[in-house]
């Protein structure tokens, strides 16, 4: 086990110590800000490494547009048999060597890092049986770094302390706030995807929305139950990675939405409007049919476009 875990500890602590070194001139060696940002930096590094996977997935999602007719045919053919429907859909993806689904990998890949960070931070907070602080050095977090990290605080709470492992009220308040942030970001991310990012679907989507309501209450409980065991530093990692996920999704929904989703329609509309603006600029005069009065042109083109204006305003 050590053969697998030790490199992980070295990696996590190495990254943190490196970023800490880089930030020391700005915030100071013992500053909690330096330590907190070092953990944030670890998240940023991991998520940057994972970006190519994300891009790959988005690309194969876009490739689906070409398969749309096939998918419609399958849906119609197996209307009453959801099992058969999903089965045929998977066969189709495999045949065309494009699979829009993300797989669990991006989540599972983060788990060892998460676990290593948990162990490294818990090592900092370790105590002897008599209750005397006796930090355990893991990886590159040793010597003066270990001592400094053991004292580092995040909004007044030591980053190595957890809700259950501490009697400090500040630690309790900070962990509760972080757990709240984790729940809120998870929920917002899922909601954003449901409302804007996915093609409109039939009844199954209603079911999903129903489930969302359950999640709104259940997920904070799950996060709370696990979160009270985690050191503040791990909660910082978790919250930051949630923010990253949200931002990444926000960017994709805004700039490169899934065809058929509400966000896609909105973008199409904006593009059309932009094209119109450009037409106007090139000719120097208004050639937008919307702005020409019907009496002035009188031709079929002007009349046909007229209802569009009414609908819009």
């Amino acid at each position: 086990m050590g053969a697998i875990l030790n490199p992980l500890y070295s990696f996590v602590s190495g990254v943190i110590v490196l970023i800490h070194k880089a930030l020391t001139p700005i915030f100071g060696f013992d500053s909690g800000v330096t330590w907190a940002l070092s953990i944030v930096g670890l998240v940023v590094l991991i998520r940057i490494i994972l970006i190519p996977l994300f891009v790959k997935q988005i690309k194969s999602q876009r490739a689906l547009t070409a398969l749309q007719p096939h998918m419609k045919a399958i849906q119609n053919k197996y209307k009453d048999d959801r099992q058969k429907q999903s089965e045929e859909m998977m066969k189709l993806y495999k045949e065309h060597k494009t699979n829009p689904l993300a797989s669990c990998f991006p989540i599972i890949a983060q788990a060892p890092i998460f676990f290593a960070l948990f162990t490294v931070l818990n090592g900092i907070a370790a105590k002897t049986d008599a209750g005397v602080s006796a930090p355990i050095a893991r990886g590159f977090l040793k010597g003066e770094y270990l001592e400094s990290a053991a004292q580092a605080t995040f909004f007044g709470a030591k980053i190595s302390q957890s809700f259950l492992g501490s009697t400090d009220t500040t630690v309790k308040i900070v962990t509760v706030i972080l757990i709240f942030i984790m729940s809120a970001t998870t929920f917002t991310t899922q909601r954003q995807l449901m409302v804007k990012g996915m093609p409109k679907m039939d009844a199954s989507n209603n079911m999903m929305l129903q489930q969302q309501k359950i999640m709104l209450y259940l997920f904070p409980v799950i996060f709370a139950v696990s979160g009270v065991n985690f050191p503040v530093g791990v909660l910082i990692y978790w919250s930051t990675t949630n923010f990253w996920t949200w931002g990444q999704q926000f960017y994709v929904i805004k700039r490169n939405p899934t065809p058929g989703s509400p966000a896609y329609e909105e973008l199409e509309r904006k593009r059309k409007e932009k094209n119109k603006e450009e037409n106007r600029d090139q000719s120097g005069t208004v050639i937008d049919p919307e702005n020409t009065e019907p009496g002035q042109t009188g031709d079929v083109k002007g009349q046909r476009k007229q209802p569009k204006k009414k609908k819009k305003k």
Partner: protein
């Protein structure tokens, strides 16, 4: 023991997985696969499930992959013991 693990998987399917968009590249999903593999093969099923999870990665193309080939007559039993999704 088998039942306990399958119960945990069912719990996941019912309460956790629906909160997120579908993400498994295979049919049936990794969790359904694991549930049926473990209830049929026990320890060997656990290894099968781990191998399945490893195969479900960004570089695979997914597809249809049953742990236990569904016989037509057993279809309904399969469904109730394993759960859909």
């Amino acid at each position: 023991m088998r039942r306990l693990i399958v119960a945990f998987i069912n719990l996941y399917q019912k309460w956790i997985s629906p909160a997120f968009p579908a993400r498994c590249k295979y049919y049936p999903s990794c969790s359904s696969y694991a549930a049926s593999a473990i209830s049929h093969y026990g320890l060997r099923g656990v290894l099968m499930s781990i191998w399945r999870l490893m195969r479900c990665n960004p570089w695979s193309h997914g597809g249809v992959d049953y742990a236990v080939q569904p016989a037509k007559t057993f279809k309904n039993i399969e469904k109730t013991s394993v759960g859909v999704n």
